[in-house]
Subunit: 504 residues, 2 copies
Amino acid sequence: MVRRGRSRDAGTETASPTTNYRNLVTPYEPLRLLSDDHVEHLHTSAIRYLADEGIRVLFDEAREIFAEAGCTVDGDMVRFDPDVIAEAIASAPSEFTLLGRNPAYDVHLGLGHVNLVPVGGPPFVSDLDRGRRDGTLADQENFLRMTEHFDVMSVAAPCVEPNDIPINIRHLHSIRSSMTLTHKPTFLFARGRDRVADNFEIIRLAYDITPEAFVEAPRCWTNVNVNSPRQLDIPMSMGIIDFARAGQVCILTPFTLAGAMAPVTMAGALVLQHMEVLAALTLSQLVRPGGPVVYGAFTSNVDMKSGSPAFGTPEAFKGALGSGQLARHVGLPWRSSGSSASTSVDAQGAYETMLNTWAAVLAGANWIMHAAGWQEGGLVASYEKFVADIDMCQIIAESLQPIGMTDADLALDAITDVGPGGHFFGVDHTLERYSTAFYDPLLFSRATYEQWDEEGRLTTEQRANAMWKQVLADYEQPPMDGAVAAQIDDFVERRIAEGGAPPD
Amino acid sequence: MVRRGRSRDAGTETASPTTNYRNLVTPYEPLRLLSDDHVEHLHTSAIRYLADEGIRVLFDEAREIFAEAGCTVDGDMVRFDPDVIAEAIASAPSEFTLLGRNPAYDVHLGLGHVNLVPVGGPPFVSDLDRGRRDGTLADQENFLRMTEHFDVMSVAAPCVEPNDIPINIRHLHSIRSSMTLTHKPTFLFARGRDRVADNFEIIRLAYDITPEAFVEAPRCWTNVNVNSPRQLDIPMSMGIIDFARAGQVCILTPFTLAGAMAPVTMAGALVLQHMEVLAALTLSQLVRPGGPVVYGAFTSNVDMKSGSPAFGTPEAFKGALGSGQLARHVGLPWRSSGSSASTSVDAQGAYETMLNTWAAVLAGANWIMHAAGWQEGGLVASYEKFVADIDMCQIIAESLQPIGMTDADLALDAITDVGPGGHFFGVDHTLERYSTAFYDPLLFSRATYEQWDEEGRLTTEQRANAMWKQVLADYEQPPMDGAVAAQIDDFVERRIAEGGAPPD
């Protein structure tokens, strides 16, 4: 709802453009890891491999779709006709808009667009007061409120699993919370056909549109992880099919952690990732040519001593650069991540998240998941990390804004007025601009050591603890028509009475 | 001396190139903030301003040099003939080598080269055991040992001020420590003619060369801060002249903190920075055409609420990108910084240092000062921050290495061997490469929450505390010929007996 950061005092003049943390667009050319020849080589190697060896598809409906299109199905193995892949690449849109409940919250995907997305998926939640514990619906609702509060977060995400809600009705509570607590386009899990149908219906009610209108434009998103290497399981295949049929956004993300589910070499991890995205993309486009899909890239590495996933690594940095090149090669918007292996809101967590998130932005990623609040390799959503990462995300957003280059911006008259050895604090040029000139951090302190010492030597984590409480206190629920809210409640109550829907 | 990070087991095979943390070269095109037209506009505006308005030069010898070259001297103001500036730009080398005491420690400056440099300048030092306190020679010596230990640090720096040594003999102790504790090219302060001469003489003795050979190639470096706005004071002008006469490396860094010593607009701060560098460059090149100089850029902003310097800001990010473009426009190697305002080794410090340091690397900076150990806006050198930042610097160094693209790197045979749904842990392709495949962090932990909890919930800062002690315990002093060491000692003792030299 509000934009923290620069204050916008009425009456102050500035030649600099107004910063808007929504609908960010990067002015920077993407960094390149690979030569064009190497990109083409990875791409053609992936297609040839899909044709010769293929992937395993565990869902019969998906295999039937591939078979009908002319792919070779042999048991649960599917080998791909390169022409079918080429058609899928051609039909997938290179840009599209994900609609918010309010047009101001629409989200654009396509070349140059940068969307920062909150943490998704952790079973645990953590804060300084209550420690690390199972996530609850109340926690997820708090993260939705924080997501709504900060413009730099593009969409709502499944920040933490509501473990206190029985599994068969969890999706109903989750989606109702998302629809009522934020205007932003929502995530939902592809965890079974009936659950997805429930979710779609509640979104349709919240947006107050017809079923026909619902499938005409995307209003929600999911992420499907391919079971690397080379396997699409039943729930994932079903999710791809269901989202394609409904015209909703499906991110296709191979789980290619080099050294474990992917080769230990980055070229091997990238070629595996690419073939898996192409296979999933083909399924999606066969169901609905032109449906909105996103090239998902999560290529990082494991720690070879422990086997645990590692984040914020140089390998992940290169993986992001290469992934961006491959995604642009096939003309798809693409997804990357900010993430960290750290178990606390300490320096390691910040180094790793900053490196990963910047790598994603500089690699030209259009959708950057886990950019705020992710901790412990994805096991924990941290309240304090969330707001600390928001400061980082806002710094990134500001870093994407151009600078003014007018005569007034060059300030040669002010330089003359100040004179040699003077200072600019008091001159008109400064006074006219000072309140909006620089990013004003949420948490990052410029206190002197003495001030910091007097105030109790608070760490970033401790300041973040006060900040998230303030954000929740300041939060204002977005308005919703009473009749719409009642329809949603009626639907949720009826489905709960019917026993909800278990995951498939 | 040793390279931490990837282990290099004998007999392991890898198609990936060997990583070398010395003499880093970036494979990435520099990020651009400004159009070519805007770069040219800032450049010509700076030159025109120097011609019309000029800068104040407080040192009469410097004014005489300018006057002799045809510049207009009016009181202490110097106005510049654009042709004189153009000649200085033309004569300044675009690349050069700074010699180590051992050729393996030579340092290259020029397009694409990336040198990461330790913290410089703080009066205070900090560690977890002893807290924040005045720096001592023993502390500086410890930082020199840590600098020698990690290959990713290119040169020795004045990490902390040895406040326990009387000012008149401090330079003698400092340079002797640097010459005996590390092979790397050393920094020295330009704080007075006699002191600089003492330093040069000790370096000459340590390198065991003639006075004629000394001035033929650079073996040490200094940094001169222009007193922004538009003023060159006596010690700074003297430093520029003395280093030029001796053919040693002088970094010319305007202290352009936007909103205080520079305009509040980034274009204004950049045009002021550029004119000040050009003025200092002209002085240097008039003394010694072709002498090694570096375009220094420190443009960041102040916090407009407190007036204190801010670091790791979006404004500093843009300042770095613009500075890189201006430096390349005049064909000079250039210097940037990693830095942070945080008072502790916490998340803020890591976010800020990572952002600044990456900004510098991606902006194409060739010399990145304060990349390890800087805290509290430059007031403190922290032992723990130093080793935490080393992990970051090594991650950056690894991120600059290309990936292998051979058939063995693409690993399609291994992908077939593993099969759908399998894993790569045990296959030969992994076993042959696992020990060198990924960066192995110094401090960044991938422990599970349970392990971390059992081990006492150590933060990055606490792990860093153990690490720097280990580094100091492992440190091996580089060998020095006994006669050379004796010559240095004799010189130092004689100069101490003579009363040393006070700063000018």
